[in-house]
């Protein structure tokens, strides 16, 4: 009951200015750190989706879901463990172009990590990698030795193995 776990929270919402503030305030007020946050469109037209990663006990997680769903513009909120979701993060590395030609090992690292070169020009090339946090961290460590000009990693995005019955819910409203 009191064991902390990593949960992926999926929140289906109306797309309104200010809602991000309202949602983040729920975590802020309870001093819960947001590990990552992503917002995007969802599978339903006109419905936004927040994907938030937090570490919490399940008991507190349930209460947070209640607080989220209480918000007028939140349609539905779900929480899932890592085992219940397919998830990944994506990242970009900006690296000096010379290295690509001078350091043979870089080419091996790129190949082995399944990273993709997005663009190359005279000064730099950009590498993109999507995957689990550990894979990205490994690539980061390996590339650090050669020097990284810029690095950025996205928040987690996730889909659940089970269905989230959001369309049915919206249909119910329409009737």
């Amino acid at each position: 009951m009191s064991e902390t776990k990593t949960y992926t929270v999926s929140i289906y919402t109306e797309n309104n200015i200010g809602l991000l503030n309202r949602i983040s305030a729920i975590f802020q007020r309870r001093k819960i750190n947001i590990e990552s946050l992503n917002t995007s469109i969802s599978e339903i037209e006109g419905v936004s989706r927040f994907t938030i990663v937090i570490n919490l006990t399940e008991e507190r997680m349930k209460k947070i879901i209640g607080q989220l769903e209480k918000q007028v513009e939140v349609i539905k909120a779900f929480y899932h463990t890592d085992e219940e979701t397919i998830f990944l993060e994506t990242c970009l590395f900006k690296i000096k172009s010379d290295l690509l030609f001078e350091e043979r090992q870089i080419q091996n690292i790129i190949k082995e990590s399944n990273a993709r070169i997005v663009t190359v020009n005279k000064e730099f090339f950009v590498l993109e990698k999507a995957g689990r946090r550990s894979e990205i961290e490994l690539l980061y460590r390996e590339l650090s030795a050669f020097g990284i000009m810029q690095f950025v990693r996205s928040g987690r995005i996730a889909v659940t193995k089970d269905e989230m019955k959001i369309s049915a819910l919206l249909k119910e409203f329409a009737e």
Partner: protein
């Protein structure tokens, strides 16, 4: 541009056409049945005030002396009338001054719509004069908020604001309107809001949960009800009374729940919580089924959760799913509007009585009476007690008055001893504990229930936090009765200092002004009572006065409110001294 004629639902006004945003706001208020609003003008809201001037025959705007007063007045109005209270202010400081009242309304589930002016949309984010991010500031304390930057948004947003404020678990909504949107012309048409896609105000009633609850109640040996404001907000007083009477279950109340059934009802066993009655607090930890109805297990009600009702099965009737299992786990949760859930419960209940169990409450009342209540209400010592003032008011009001209390010792005394025959009669700041609430709230309460006597009971500390609203009372001549129980102390803090800080009275003693002179300065009839023999006559004079009246009662300086559950203690460890 095509113009069309529409008929407004509640106002029967033939409204056309192309109008300005400022006029649209007024038409929206009228369409929502608003007759009174409280506010304070200023630059960014001046266009709306200009329209209020034109509509003053239909919309009564009350000029308070501070925007905080406007929110509390709107709250008082809402709490006694069951309608949505409306407060209006300008941008910047006008808007930020609303925040305390909004936070109060949020935690006490009071339906309120606040309208704030905002700088013109092209100035947003430029640190313009009197610009403040009121949407950002008010987000955590509003049920919903929205900034209007185009006049065409006004009808739909205003309709949504009133719908959200009053539906489900009520709460405050803030609508911020830029100055240019107030001037902009557009084609106005108004349609009331009846649903919002992402918002489910009332959970669907689950008949199985009601059946399970009824079975558990019917099988109980020592059941106890604790009810809260949810009964009043759900307009479920009749259903609730029928449930109490048929089930025969002793019923106790939270301070926001009181007056849902009469104080003198034989099954009403008093108040729970920090300064509640001895019986219901102690017996919370002896009952076998605890039936919570429209209450949220606030920490001032439960004391230490680790030792709260652990022996009992808990049934929670609640409209807000987020409240279920928040503080106390429910064995059975019955989600829904109290009027609906209690009506569904009633036919499933067996007609019962629990004479022995009920006697336990009576015995404990006797203990409390001998130790505390007698000395509070019929003191033998020289100094006046707060309790005897309440007893004096009861003698005249006969339970018909609306009692508006502030925050502190006098509030606990008022809630403990005031008699109520009618619902929606106790207006107090419960969750937020806002000192300064009572004087402006009493103004709104009197306007929301003009046929009823309204008595504000205030301490000398809280009174001075919003004392400027005497100006509003003077100007509107609203006949509220103001009783200041003056002990020249911030009494509740002083009590805690005495009990928990070895009598180190840090910054709690007040050197007070001549309150009677101040009231008279506002041309309000006033008197001061310092002796017991003057008290009943003064109360009678106050209650009989046609206009507003101020009564200061000098009470014992260092009286304490008991019983008391010290913070963090168990309800069963309630102290009688």
């Amino acid at each position: 541009m095509e113009t069309q004629t529409i008929k407004l639902q509640d106002t029967a006004v033939e409204a056309t056409q192309r109008i300005t945003g400022k006029e649209a706001i007024i038409k929206c208020l009228l369409a929502e049945g608003v007759d009174t609003l409280y506010g304070y003008p200023g630059g960014a809201i001046m266009p709306v005030y200009d329209e209020l001037y034109k509509y003053q025959d239909r919309l009564h705007h009350v000029l308070t002396r501070h925007e905080q007063g406007a929110t509390h007045a709107a709250q008082g109005y809402a709490r006694v009338s069951g309608k949505v209270g409306v407060a209006i202010a300008t941008s910047g400081p006008g808007a930020t001054n609303l925040i305390t009242g909004i936070a109060d309304a949020q935690i006490d589930s009071t339906p309120m719509v606040c309208i704030t002016g905002q700088v013109a949309s092209h100035l947003l984010g430029s640190d313009a004069f009197q610009e403040t991010d009121i949407i950002g500031i008010s987000t955590p304390v509003t049920k919903w908020n929205y900034q209007i930057t185009k006049a065409s948004e006004i009808p739909e947003v205003m309709a949504k604001a009133f719908y959200i404020a009053r539906s489900g678990r009520p709460g405050p909504v803030l609508i911020d309107i830029t100055k240019d949107a107030q001037f902009e012309e557009f084609d106005f048409a108004y349609k009331k809001c009846t649903a919002v896609r992402s918002y489910k105000p009332i959970p669907k009633l689950n008949p199985e949960s009601v059946q399970a609850a009824a079975a558990m109640i019917n099988a109980a040996k020592r059941p106890m009800i604790v009810w809260g404001q949810g009964v009043i907000l759900g307009k479920a007083e009749e259903e609730f009374k029928a449930v109490v009477e048929k089930s025969g279950v002793p019923a106790a109340w939270t301070i926001l729940g009181v007056s849902a059934i009469p104080t003198e009802h034989p099954l009403n066993v008093g108040m729970v919580g920090m300064h509640g009655n001895y019986g219901p607090n102690v017996l919370t930890n002896e009952c076998d089924v605890l039936i919570a109805i429209g209450m949220r297990f606030d920490d001032r009600v439960t004391g230490n959760l680790a030792t709260y009702a652990k022996q009992a099965k808990v049934i929670h009737f609640e409209i807000d799913p987020a409240e279920v299992n928040k503080n106390v786990n429910a064995d059975i949760a019955v989600l829904g509007d109290s009027k609906e859930t209690l009506a569904a419960l009633l036919p499933l209940l067996e007609q019962k009585e629990y004479p022995e169990w009920h006697n336990r409450f009576k015995e404990m009342y006797k203990i409390e009476y001998d130790k505390i209540i007698k000395n509070d209400l019929k003191p033998e010592k020289e100094g006046l007690t707060m309790g005897e003032v309440l007893e004096g008011i009861n003698a005249v009001s006969k339970g018909e008055a609306v009692i508006v209390s502030d925050v502190g010792q006098h509030q606990m005394i008022a809630c403990r001893y005031a008699k109520f025959n009618k619902s929606k009669s106790n207006v107090t700041s419960g969750g937020l504990g806002t000192m300064g609430f009572a004087l402006p709230a009493a103004i709104g309460a009197k306007m929301g229930a003009p046929e009823r006597p309204v008595v504000a009971i205030i301490g000398d500390g809280g009174y001075q936090m919003t004392i400027q609203e005497l100006g509003t009372i003077f100007q509107t001549k609203v006949p509220v009765k103001i009783v200041v129980l003056n002990n020249d102390f911030l009494g509740m803090v002083r009590q805690w200092q005495q009990l928990f800080f070895d009598r180190r009275y840090a910054s709690t003693e007040l050197i007070n002004p001549d309150f009677v002179a101040i009231a008279k300065g506002y041309y309000i009839d006033a008197q001061r009572v310092t002796k017991r023999e003057e008290l009943s006559g003064a109360i009678e004079e106050m209650m009989a006065a046609e206009g507003p009246y101020f009564l200061e009662v000098k009470v014992e300086k260092e009286d304490n409110v008991f019983p008391m559950i010290p913070t963090g203690a168990s309800v069963s460890d309630i102290r009688l001294e």
